[in-house]
Symmetry: C2
Subunit: 199 residues, 2 copies
Amino acid sequence: MTDPRPRWTRAQQRRQTEDNILAAAREMFARLGYDRTTIRAVAKAAGVDAGLVMHYFGTKDALFSRAAEVPAGDLPHGSAEETVEALLDSLASRLASEPVASLAVLRSMLTHGDAADRYRAAAGPQLNQITASIPADDADLRASLLSAIVHGVIIERWLLQFSGLADASPDRIIELLRPAFRALATAQTPPSTTDDPNR
Amino acid sequence: MTDPRPRWTRAQQRRQTEDNILAAAREMFARLGYDRTTIRAVAKAAGVDAGLVMHYFGTKDALFSRAAEVPAGDLPHGSAEETVEALLDSLASRLASEPVASLAVLRSMLTHGDAADRYRAAAGPQLNQITASIPADDADLRASLLSAIVHGVIIERWLLQFSGLADASPDRIIELLRPAFRALATAQTPPSTTDDPNR
DNA sequence: GTCTATAACCCGATAGAC
DNA sequence: GTCTATCGGGTTATAGAC
């Protein structure tokens, strides 16, 4: 009375197993980083054999590449003010819940070259768009600083779990950062301490 | 005709060798992180035997602890404005040249628990002083954000070597960040987009 | 297709010769 | 004090049985 036909086809079954492995790998890469994540542990977490993981993905590096695929987040074009708001929106959602694949990249980027490359590749386009929206000679530096702030906050919230940032409400963080972002995105020489050498 | 008395005493010689090992370990921990730094490689870089490193420091963890000793950087007490300037001064010097021991901690903090603890211990006092100087209910969150910004900039400059931050002049970075820091350190509801629900 | 066994290598740590 | 040799364990990756 057993049905000889499988509920899923071979290809579907394989895909399902691959997804399980990738999910386990993502979680582990995000929590432990590249080096301390072992193929054996990933396989066990996914309920399969370690040899199977190698058979599917070839190498540990390839597994990381697949597990750490993160969509290139891009911002809509617009004025500096609009870009600031778009950047704050993006940050707000990443403060609410950061994708595991992205956390895997962030966790490993300081000690694994491929992860650092992935990080640069993901941040690059966003950086260019921010730069383009800022009307100033040093737009690139301003954009880099905005990007560094976003990443610093994300890292301390999700990876280091700094008290004060780990459990603060995204809205409050956004409200506090808005003036700082505006100050960076709008070119204005502060009427402050030093004299202008260009006069 | 050889002089039987050594130029240095045994204790001095040992101290010299220890310093060589620590310097090599610092450089390697800072460049590769905790996991990828091996005792063997440190010994080779220091020109000694791997067994000697173990004999001096006992374990790899203990070697890291010694190599990653970083003085607890504290800020002078003062008003919010003064604290901002002190924080900017501190950042300026860290942008000019960051100590190798500190880079070792930063490089390893996402993947090595001890390094993360060290990082929190070093950032903690500074954070408290910033918090104390800010007259606002959410002073702790504002201080955390200031700290996150500093660390984000340092990481992208020294560890990820993000173009735009890696080779920008410290002075320009400081000038750009000053308004942003002031905005965070001085409690003011922005006269901006949203209505004030507390009226 | 899936899994077991193992090869080949590198690690931290230890014991002991000199 | 310094260094050689090695132990015991872990890893990725491969080869082959079922």
